[in-house]
Amino acid sequence: MASLKPDAAPGKAPAKVRFRDPQIEMAHGAGGIASRRLIEGLFAPLLLGSANEPLGDSARVEIAGAQVAITADCFVVKPLRFPGGSIGELAINGTVNDLAVSGARPQSIVATFILEAGLATEVLEAEVRAMAQAARQAGVTVAGGDTKVVEHGKADGMYITTTGVGSFLSGVHINPRSVRPGDKVLLSGPIGDHGITILLARGELDLEADLCSDTRSVFPLVEAMAIAAGPGIRWMRDPTRGGVATSLNELARDCGLGLHLNEDKIPVRDSVRGACELLGLDPLHIANEGQFLAVVAPEYADLALNALCQADGGAEAVMIGEVHQQPAGSVLITTEYGGSRIIDMLVGDPLPRIC
């Protein structure tokens, strides 16, 4: 998720906290406006000193002269198992993807587990096997980890945190500030699969569909794109919690430009669409675990898109829009017939509605 790049000079005056919410709510973890406020208003000032670099998916640290990508992510999901995956796979792929979209080859992961007393061993074993399998598939090693057990009633079974390190791909420099009007916005495939799968798997809404989570490592796609169009890649992100809308809004705010999307180009599977229409949800706000967005310079955009489409698992990649000057800091989506609206970040989790 959001990584903090250490750029503060040592000996700087202690930073002020600007986060004024009196208590933590679920909204602060939903990946939208409230989450951003918590990160920018509390974590960043206190841990970084000053968050004047845009927050990215991984941090760049220098160790003995070498540049290394490092990131961490925590995984809290109910239910633990769902069609298409489980918390174990998410824990590996999520961190792998954060490294990948930072332009880094994921190399190694350490994992920590917070386990709830009473958790059945077979459940834990299934997750650890899933992690091992996902790591093998993603080509990363699991170098170690830690475990703590908490009382029954906490941890929803288990929480997993993974920290990953990787090496930056040469020739790829991700920086939202390098985005320019005329750049193209690419999307690797259909959106909303993961979030809707989880929503249905919880069983509270009594909906059934043949849907599964899209969890996978996107590194092979990123690598293919980097080989073909590396110098043209300005920015990438994996749109997890908060969906494509949130990721693109973060970019729009970081680069101060306007992102224009074409609604008819955005791929959404039928059943995701059906569930969203039924529940009054917008697929753009729904979490994904196996897709990524990229902004590419116009002269490289076709190369990048072709490389994605040729790569394994990239056949559904598509160009969904482009960068303009206005509306500054916002994301605008337009229909084929010329109707448009601004897409914003959500406040908290998307809620089904009846009105």
Partner: protein, 375 residues
């Protein structure tokens, strides 16, 4: 998606918009009110204002059942659920609506058992699955939703499920339309009628709008082509100096309404003598309450509620915005103290409330300097 995609056909939309431009008299400014919050949402979602000529103004009406709910009723509902043996259930729309002590979601964060349900029948299922608890369903909605509440209570009674009750905040649409037309500041040319309410009440209840108030009304569906066709119908009526009720949404709305739904409502509900509407004040015969024959399933009769009236902050101009007298951006609190994240009034918290819709979809478009719009 069948019966949806056809009515979103971009080519037909473009041509219908052209027809609207042809029909609209360039020397006239049209003020059309869409009554229903679902229509407000659709207008913004489909960006319809971009393809209408500038002399057609769409005014947002008060048909948002969340928006017109006084804060005191939310407090009442939440206070009933303070008991740890009570499960508070409601539609997702209610979850972020602030009471004086916070919204249902905020109460959930503080330990109250709060559940989102898609259907009142799901709330009843919760009751069956949790015999040691009492499930309270916070019911909202106009006549579209009231029959489902009614049928759910009929089923609860028939099956003898006693640990279930409904906190009834159903309101009716005609008094709201009357209040709009009675408002001295209001100047409207025609109405886009609420399509889904009409599947229950039919088209007859709107006849007084045409006969007595001489305003055309087209009962409209919710897809872009439905709304655009309704506007075509209204413009034609206005051009011809006519005022009648037209059913644009024929594929779904029966002229006589849904008798079974009306029967269910009559069985379970009766009209309250009066009810307070946020922003509109007290309106007589405008809301439903549960009959004595179903007292056992009425949260208000089973439990005692404080019934405290909570007045909105003076600076909040929800009432004027609800009536369409003010645009959201003209309210002093809009975008400052009142945002979707920190809503002061319910018009900002409900996704179909005028203020939230305007904030989310429109105001930054309005702020952008150079934008090339299609002709």
């Amino acid at each position: 998606m069948k019966f949806v995609d056809e009515f979103r056909d971009p080519e037909v939309i473009t041509r219908t918009a052209e027809e609207i431009r042809r029909l609209a008299d360039p020397n006239r400014h049209y003020r059309l009110m869409e009554v229903c919050g679902g229509h407000t949402h659709a207008i913004y979602r489909f960006g319809l204002k971009d393809i209408l000529p500038p002399n057609i103004e769409l005014i947002h009406g008060p048909g948002c059942p969340v928006c017109v709910l006084p804060m005191g009723r939310i407090d009442d509902g939440l206070s009933l659920a303070q008991d740890p043996d009570v499960i508070f259930s409601a539609f997702g729309d209610m979850m972020r609506v602030p009471g004086t002590q916070g919204s249902p979601l905020e109460h959930k964060a503080r330990g109250m058992d709060v559940r989102i349900v898609y259907s009142p029948s799901d709330a009843l299922k919760l009751a069956k699955a949790n015999p040691d608890k009492h499930v309270m369903f916070f019911a909202i909605g106009f006549e579209t939703t009231a029959p489902s509440s009614a049928l759910t209570l009929m089923r609860a009674k028939a099956e003898g499920i006693r640990n279930f009750s409904l906190f009834c905040n159903h309101v009716t649409i005609i008094p709201a339309i009357r209040a709009i037309l009675d408002s001295p500041d209001m100047r409207l040319d025609a109405f886009i009628g609420p399509g889904h309410v009409s599947t229950v009440i039919g088209c007859r209840p709107y006849e007084w709008i045409a006969k007595d108030e001489h305003k055309p009304i087209a009962v409209s569906g919710f897809e872009p082509l439905d709304l655009l066709q309704s506007i075509v119908m209204l413009l034609r009526q206005l051009k011809a100096g006519e005022a009648k009720v037209e059913n644009q949404y024929k594929r779904v709305v029966p002229w006589e309404g849904n008798r079974a739904a009306l029967r269910a409502m009559a069985e379970v509900f009766e009209l309250r003598p009066y009810f307070e509407w946020r922003g509109l004040g007290f309106i007589s015969q405008s809301a439903l309450r549960i009959r004595d024959s179903y007292a056992e399933w009425d949260s208000e009769q089973r439990f005692s509620i404080a019934g405290v009236r909570v007045t909105d902050p003076k600076a909040a101009q929800c009432g004027e915005v609800l009536k369409g007298v003010l645009k959201p951006a003209q309210c002093k609190l809009f975008g400052r103290e009142c945002t979707p994240e920190h809503p002061v009034g319910a018009l900002m918290v409900s996704s179909e409330g005028s203020c939230a819709a305007y904030y989310n979809y429109e105001h930054r478009k309005a702020m952008a300097t150079s934008l090339a719009w299609p002709a």
